[in-house]
């Protein structure tokens, strides 16, 4: 068998694919963060908690209302997005005139409160959630066994990421949004309801986190801490990609997933630090991030 650096190529293909799957989650989450930062200038530290809420929403829908995964895929992001709208209206909207740091502090505090409340109620060991019947099982690709569910995660997240990018970069609505971040007063003068648009944007970003949570529920634990563990990596992804750059967030998300996957083969002990090492290097060479402007 051919080998690269002592690792059989077959195993390598497998790991590349795994990396892409994990990258899908990073991409989905960092996409939401990038949208929110790009348009609201808020560093949304609650994102991890909102991702966790998505997973919990899926669990509740199944166990309390008997609604399956596919319903959860639609309803959970809506529910989580709605909580986002409330947070934006009640609290975040008061901070836009202040320094970034205040938004960061508020969202960080909220994240701690939400996670604490869930942990108090449901413990930290997590709750079970099964893969939907139709997506269980998998196919043998020759070089690896690919669970159907993971394949679905890659496809779904690619569709969502590209869709979001198209909406923001290529539609009229997106143009309004981008204009409103440049000069809200001017856009308002043209008769566009800017505050409402910003509220909905935050809600959308948060809903993306909720969606990622639903997709994660069947493969990771539904656990109050699942967001806290992931969000730090996702922030590193956003920093590497360049704050606010949507394409940057998506590409970096997938790319870093792959790099992390490969680290797990060559030097597993470093697999949870490799992203931060890359972040440090990027910040030294290109402080605005790989895809950032300014």
């Amino acid at each position: 068998m051919t080998e690269i650096f002592g690792v059989p190529t077959q195993a390598l293909f497998g790991q590349l694919l795994i990396g892409l799957i994990n990258g899908s989650f990073y991409a989905l989450l960092s996409l939401g963060l990038a949208v929110i930062f790009g348009l609201l200038n808020i560093i949304n530290f609650t994102h991890g908690a909102q991702y966790m809420m998505g997973a919990f929403a899926a669990y509740f829908l199944l166990n309390k209302l008997g609604l399956n995964y596919w319903w959860a895929l639609v309803l959970a992001p809506l529910a989580v997005g709605a909580t986002g709208v409330i947070i934006e209206r009640l609290m975040l909207s008061r901070l836009y005139k202040l320094d970034h740091l205040y938004g960061l502090l508020l969202t960080f505090g909220l994240a701690l409160i939400i996670q604490g409340a869930f942990r108090h109620e449901y413990g930290s060991a997590g709750l079970p959630y099964s893969i939907p019947e139709i997506l269980s099982g998998g196919t043998n690709l020759g070089f690896m066994f690919l669970p159907k569910y993971r394949a679905w995660v890659i496809v779904a997240s690619l569709v969502v990421c590209v869709g979001t990018w198209l909406v923001i970069e290529r539609t009229k609505l997106g143009a309004y949004l981008r204009a409103a971040t440049e000069n809200p007063a001017m856009v308002q003068a043209f008769g566009v309801n800017v505050p409402r648009m910003i509220t909905l944007t935050y809600g959308f970003g948060v809903a993306l986190a909720g969606l990622a949570g639903v997709m994660a529920a069947p493969i990771y634990q539904v656990n109050p801490l699942m967001g806290a563990d992931t969000i730090i990596v996702v922030f590193a992804v956003v920093v590497i990609g360049g704050m606010g750059s949507i394409m940057g967030a998506v590409i970096t998300g997938f790319g870093l997933g792959v790099i992390e996957g490969l680290t797990k083969v060559f030097y597993p002990e470093a697999s949870n630090t490799v992203i931060f090492v890359i972040m440090a290097i990027v910040l030294m060479i290109r402080p605005q991030g790989l895809f950032g402007s300014r």
Binding site: G126, L127, S130, M144, R150, S271
Partner: protein, 404 residues
């Protein structure tokens, strides 16, 4: 300054010791529960251990016997430096006499050393590494509930005997995982099996797919999970997704707690075989105790770690009563002398190397159809008698024993 004076006084007292009237420092026996309150080990220890310690005090009847007690707790966040800092502060500034529980072997080894230096007492229930009664043993530490040797011996033996003779390890990359892997590997090799490979993953890993692919490629019959808590449940959940078991390989959870089975659900956990030193449904006494525990714990049932904390604190208080002192070294020595007896672990002993011995149970997780009620999860397949459940004292390399 005050602390230094106290230390001097204590040293002087020790020097005069024999005839001198022993006393309880600060007139209160202060018990510090140091464990994971917020992360992957919080359900198997956490607040449940605080509750268990309080139940022990109540059942001992400390108040009636005129012994004042106080229980405090803190979160070590699974970081050895945080745990050390808390232990130092507790011993030096807050008058804590004994630290209990402390899952996470890395933290436990650090607290073990601090406790020894300060001549206090440390009762370990949650941490697993067998080194605590081996090369790191101390006259101030007792290892109560279970250890890596016990787990390896119970589970490893049973699995190799039923044909699982080639292994691949997924190991949590810190003191505990290393110890569990080492002890299990020793059992596998001794019984004629072989180890085809191993991979070390960071503590608290979300995604195990890369590691599972490596395990799959190794073609080992058994994938041994030398990890715990959330790491184990994640690995098991994802192994089923990647068709590990369907492909003819079997999983061996080397350390699985009741809370992990609860988190996985019986559907995913059924058939797992592992070793525990206590289960709530063992007998009438354990069931009665569990009823009280669950009522005060929001309906959540106790793990063996909780039971161990209860049993250890109860025995500690008996020793305090007997010596009329809360001096760490003295009380631990007394605890080794007194035979143990409590409703959960029955009669037992504490060895000179600090190892508490009692039987261990090889259990199998029930099928969903076999489970009759909440937390009815295990079938006990075999009981390993106390004298065989733990590593023989001579093999541990504990300097306390060698000196004798």
């Amino acid at each position: 300054m005050i602390f230094k004076r106290k230390l001097l006084a204590a040293a002087a007292m020790l020097a005069l010791s024999a005839g001198a009237q022993a006393q309880i420092s600060g007139n209160v026996v202060k018990i510090g529960v140091l464990n994971d309150q917020s992360s992957l080990y919080a359900d198997l220890s956490g607040q449940g251990s605080v509750l268990a310690a309080k139940m022990a005090i109540e059942d001992f009847g400390a108040a009636k016997k005129g012994i004042k007690t106080e229980v405090i707790f803190a979160d070590h966040q699974n970081k050895a430096d945080v745990g050390s800092q808390i232990a130092n502060k507790w011993y030096d500034a807050e008058g804590v006499d004994v630290i209990v529980d402390t899952p996470n072997s890395g933290v436990a080894l650090a607290v073990n050393q601090i406790t020894k230096d300060k001549k206090k007492a440390f009762l370990v229930s949650g941490a697993a590494t067998a080194d605590l009664s081996g090369k790191a043993c101390s006259p101030n530490t007792l290892h109560w509930t279970y250890d890596t040797w016990m787990l390896a011996n119970g589970t490893g033996n049973a699995i190799v005997k039923t044909g699982g003779d080639s292994w691949f390890f997924l190991t949590a990359d810190y003191a505990f995982g290393h110890a569990l892997e080492r002890d299990t590997e020793a059992v596998v090799l001794k019984t004629g099996g072989k180890v085809l490979g191993k991979v070390r993953h960071p503590l608290n890993t979300q995604d195990f797919s890369s590691f599972l692919l490596q395990a799959q490629a190794s073609k080992a019959k058994i994938v041994g999970l030398a990890n715990a808590g959330g790491d184990t449940t994640n690995a098991i959940k994802q192994a089923s997704e990647f068709g590990i078991v369907k492909g003819g390989q079997n999983l061996a959870g080397l350390l699985v707690f009741l809370t992990d089975v609860h988190a996985l659900g019986l559907e995913k956990a059924q058939g797992l075989i592992f070793t525990e030193s206590w289960y709530w449904d063992l007998n009438d006494d354990s069931r009665a105790w569990t009823k009280r525990f669950a009522a005060a714990n929001g309906g959540k049932y106790p793990t063996m770690v909780h039971a161990g904390v209860y049993s250890a604190v109860l025995h500690y208080l008996k020793a305090v009563e007997a010596t009329k002192s809360d001096d760490g070294t003295k009380v631990i020595a007394e605890m080794k002398k007194l035979p143990t007896d409590d409703p959960l672990f029955g009669k037992g002993t504490v060895r000179a190397d600090g190892r508490k011995v009692h039987p261990a149970y090889l259990v199998e997780v029930k099928k969903p159809s076999e489970s009759k009620g909440p937390y009815d999860y295990y079938k006990v397949r075999a009981t390993i008698p106390a004298d065989q459940a733990f590593r023989p004292m001579a093999e541990g390399g504990c300097p306390l024993v060698a000196a004798k």
